[in-house]
Amino acid sequence: MPDTQRPQATLGAILRVFTTLGMASFGGGLPGWMHREIVQKRDWMSEESFLAGIALGQVLPGPNSVNLALYIGQQLRGWPGAALAFLGILGPPFLFILGLALLYVWGGNLAGLGVVLGGVAVAGLANSLTVGLRTAWRMRGLWPWAIAGATFIAVGLLRLPMIPVVLVLGPASVGLAWWSARHA
């Protein structure tokens, strides 16, 4: 347990939080929601540990949000924590989406719903943007900004494949962190 002085996350609480998170998220804003619930509201995990989870979850195969949920559950409470976070984040949406498919088969019209939920998805995306802005705000020194900027330009603007970018910038960034810690 890396953070002994933080509030303990019980297994029940992990299941509850991730069940809510799974149903609350539309269209890709999940890491933002998780940051709010896990770091800001409950202080279960440090900012750095959370961001490391984001980076690991993106680099490893699999959906980012599921990977991040697994990571958080596991760091908090080991295997049972990871299992409950996984069930919480995927279980309810899994049942919901099948229910929606049934409705569709029975003749429901989902076109109008799509427009509204598309808007909601953009609002969810704002959650991610906010996390990015808040974290960027707290970065001190030149090198974190250089690394963050280079990553954004390479992956976001130039659309280079993420893995090679991370393989180059990751070690460089860790090296810079090590160097700046020694010269602090």
Partner: protein
């Protein structure tokens, strides 16, 4: 039927390990397998499933469950989801296990501090990519910025989502935005 469940699992398990960042990277191959290789559905049906998955909460990759459901009912949905989430999750857990055992070591601290700016860059890149994927126009960009501004001022995300939902529903009723699809 067991054959089909196994086939579903075997289609999605390899996709699991090449799905970087989740759904969008594997949609094309998913469609090829479901439509052209296995004939579980027509291209139109796949497009409909895609629209349904966009309208549901949770990760977009849950379209795998819909493909499985279309091919083999509820058991098919489970088999497909198990295939898509199983292998990548085990890999994430293996790395996470190793990570957790490092505890509070200085090495882990340095790695975390090095990964943080990378994560920040990836967050912004992800926002941009998703906006592009949705073919966002000025309305979406305005929604994004206004929502972010509200959130930064401490507004509840649930409230923000409710307001946006009502706004879009109103705009659609007024015929200002299309019925999507």
């Amino acid at each position: 039927m067991p054959d089909r469940l196994l086939a579903l699992f075997l289609v999605f398990a390899p996709l699991s390990l090449v799905s970087l960042g989740g759904g969008p990277s594997i949609f094309a191959e998913m469609q090829r397998q479901a439509v052209e290789v296995h004939h579980w559905m027509t291209p139109q049906e796949f497009t409909e499933l895609f629209a349904i998955s966009r309208a549901a909460p949770g990760p977009g990759s849950l379209i795998s469950a819909l493909v499985g459901w279309q091919a083999a009912g509820f058991a098919g949905a489970l088999a497909a989801a198990l295939g898509l989430y199983g292998p990548s999750s085990l890999m994430m857990l293996a790395v996470g296990h190793w990570w957790r055992r490092r505890g509070d070591s200085p090495a882990r601290k340095v790695i975390e501090r090095g990964l943080a700016p990378l994560a920040v860059g990836l967050i912004f890149a992800g926002v941009l990519t998703l906006l592009r994927a949705d073919g966002a126009g000025w309305l979406e960009v305005a929604t994004l910025l206004a929502s972010a501004a509200a959130l930064l001022r401490g507004a509840s995300p649930y409230l923000v989502m409710l307001v946006v939902a009502l706004l879009y529903a109103g705009l659609q009723q007024a015929g200002a935005i299309g019925s999507g699809g």
